[in-house]
């Protein structure tokens, strides 16, 4: 029996500012699947719809038409509170600009996704401290994020994405603000996550990433449509 896909996207479209003069179709009729344990690179030029695609996959916005099935459940029309639960439990997001709370400490930022959970404070803190140790940030728990370097901020963002132990890690242009050495470190981290079974979806136009051995599939977008899908 064939294993069912982790994510199934069917005829997905996203229109911004619908019925307004500045209406813009960001994605049009996209259909593809992502299996558990995949490492997928979403590629394409700027404005091709990569970030929009990640937002839809990560339940940060809703499709205009079409559907997204996560573990065979259609999540595109779920009420907001269920989507919030899925975002917290199943998806870890590493944003292009990290989206950390700059005036909060490193520890607070990492713990943030689990504040509204029923998990005890001590457990959350313990998990956050372990992640910070794993990403060489152990001595920076109390430091405010705004005082960290770009590379350190990114590792905090990754730690935050992993605190709830999600099934899928989504990263938007993760190497956009990193030099080559830090980008290679990041690839190592992502490879490590994939080794423990995490599904990874990366939007990038950095050849260092989509040419890396880590990437199992590449989905290329152009003008909001599927241009080509390949397995390097």
């Amino acid at each position: 029996m064939a294993m069912s896909p982790l994510l199934r996207i069917e005829q997905l479209s996203k229109v911004y500012n619908r019925y307004r003069p500045d209406e813009m179709m960001a994605l049009k009729d996209l259909s593809f699947q992502i299996s558990s344990g995949d490492v997928v690179a979403l590629t394409g030029p700027s404005g091709s719809g990569k970030t929009t695609m990640l937002s839809l996959l990560g339940c940060l916005s809703r499709p205009t038409t079409g559907s997204i099935h996560f573990k065979e459940r259609n999540i595109s029309r779920l009420p907001e509170r269920f989507l919030a639960h899925i975002r917290r439990e199943s998806f870890g997001f590493v944003f292009q600009h990290y989206n950390l709370l700059r005036d909060c400490s490193v520890l607070e930022n990492v713990m943030l996704p689990l504040y509204p959970s029923d998990q005890p404070w001590r457990e959350i803190k313990q998990a956050a401290v372990q992640l910070l140790e794993r990403f060489d940030l152990a001595g920076m728990q109390r430091k405010k994020v705004k005082l960290l370097s770009g590379g350190e901020q990114q590792r905090v963002a990754i730690a935050r994405a992993l605190i709830a132990d999600p099934d899928v890690v989504i990263a938007d242009e993760p190497t956009a603000h990193l030099d080559r050495d830090l980008s290679e470190d990041l690839l190592d981290i992502l490879a490590g996550l994939n080794d423990v079974g995490k599904t990874i979806i990366i939007a990038t136009h950095d050849p260092l990433i989509y040419n890396a051995g880590l990437i199992k599939r590449r989905i290329n977008l152009r003008h909001g449509q599927l241009d080509e899908e390949s397995a390097p």
Binding site: S61, E80, A84, E89, F93, N99, L112, Y115, P116, D118
Partner: protein
């Protein structure tokens, strides 16, 4: 519960992160409450002083009116009034005002003869000998003397008279006893050069409280040059006076309240880009709209309750510790301006509740509505904006 505690912890740390904004908001908010609270406390305290003092005041005071002004009343009127059915007693009272130009204080001099007001002494006894007196706390504060010392007053013939202080009045009915100097009646008559057939006014006691109005009318009917004043009329005058003054003050204070509401609305509706981004990030990380609103609710509650409590404490200190220096000239009026007296603490919890309702409620609404608008938008959209 655990979840709420974590959200509350985040709220407090969030408020501390924006400490300058939070503290400036609390300062403005608390100042508004302090102004409004001061007016309420002062009015309530003055009304309570007045009504408290008047509980033991005469049921009817009969004055004589000549050319539309208060004049001395013949003691013979007492005999006429005492024959009216229902009158228990009529007592002539001798008193007058004294202005000390040196310390610019108004004093009330009253003689105790057969009639004695229910004056409670803090220390000592009432005067017996012609050269003795008892004084109120206000005079002690202005002139400095206490029991055993001498009080020097100058009569209309510019002759100084020295009185030995035998007692000081308690502060319980400050409004009436504060500026009081009590002398033996004969000494007071001599001081004011007052004829022994005249009195300042007559105090009438009745058997039945329900007959007070009827008796007052009867006195006026039979002695047409008199003006009977009932206790209720005095009480009503005090209430009207303080309600009118506090109304004027509140009208001014409402401007402060409106200014505060505008500030709160501006602050709340003008949710900053940073706050919007924070809400977007929290939503993206899996916080529900209800969680975001809970933060904003706690934020609003912490700020408004802290400000309200600080404002009420500030108003209390302003009114009851420092005797409301910013409001006294407006609310007390010229006649009791000096010597100053200490207000007895009185709080009307209904008024405080209304004040809390009118400030905390709108502030919470101003905080929650824009947060709700942002929190119900897709996180992607919020972060993109």
């Amino acid at each position: 519960m655990r979840r709420q505690l974590k959200i509350l912890e985040y709220t407090l740390s969030s408020l501390l992160r924006r400490k300058y904004k939070s503290f400036s908001l609390i300062a403005v908010y608390a100042f508004t409450i302090a102004v409004l609270g001061s007016v309420l406390f002062l009015t309530q305290s003055l009304k309570s002083e007045a009504t408290g003092s008047l509980v033991s005041a005469p049921e009817i005071v009969v004055q004589r009116v000549s050319a539309g002004r208060h004049d001395l009343v013949p003691i013979g009127y007492a005999e006429v009034i005492s024959k009216f059915p229902g009158v228990k007693s009529v007592t002539p009272r001798v008193w007058g005002y004294y202005y000390d130009s040196l310390v610019k204080a108004n004093l009330t001099l009253i003689g105790i003869g057969e009639y004695q007001e229910q004056l409670e002494l803090l220390d000592g006894r009432l005067p017996i000998k012609p050269d003795e007196c008892a004084i109120g706390m206000g005079i002690v504060n202005v002139f400095g003397p206490g029991k055993g010392d001498a009080l020097v007053l100058e009569n209309s013939a510019s002759t100084s008279k020295t009185f030995k202080i035998t007692g000081v009045f308690r502060a319980a009915s400050n409004l009436l006893t504060n500026d009081l100097v009590v002398l033996p009646e004969a000494a007071l008559r001599q001081f004011f050069a007052m004829d022994s057939t005249l009195a300042t006014d007559l105090v009438v006691e009745v058997y039945n409280q329900r007959e007070i109005k009827t008796l007052a009318k009867k006195i006026k009917y039979h002695l047409s040059d008199t003006r009977p004043i009932t206790r209720d009329e005095i009480l009503h005058t005090y209430e009207t006076l303080f309600n009118w003054r506090s109304g004027m003050m509140l009208a001014v204070a409402v401007a402060a309240l409106i200014a505060f509401c505008i500030l709160a609305w501006d602050k709340a509706t003008g949710i900053t880009a940073e706050e919007k981004r924070e809400i977007g990030v929290l939503k993206a990380l899996g916080w529900e709209t209800a969680d975001v609103l809970t933060i904003k609710f706690w934020e609003g509650l912490v700020i408004s309750l802290t400000s309200f409590l600080l404002g009420v404490i500030a108003a209390w200190i302003h009114v009851f510790v420092f005797s409301a220096p910013a409001l006294t000239p407006l609310l007390k009026g010229w006649s009791v301006l000096f010597p100053a007296f200490q207000l007895s603490p009185v709080v009307d919890f209904y008024q405080l509740f209304v004040l809390a309702f009118l400030t905390i409620g709108p502030y919470l609404a101003c905080t929650l509505i824009p947060a709700w608008k942002t929190a119900t938008t897709d996180p992607e959209q919020v972060m993109r904006d």
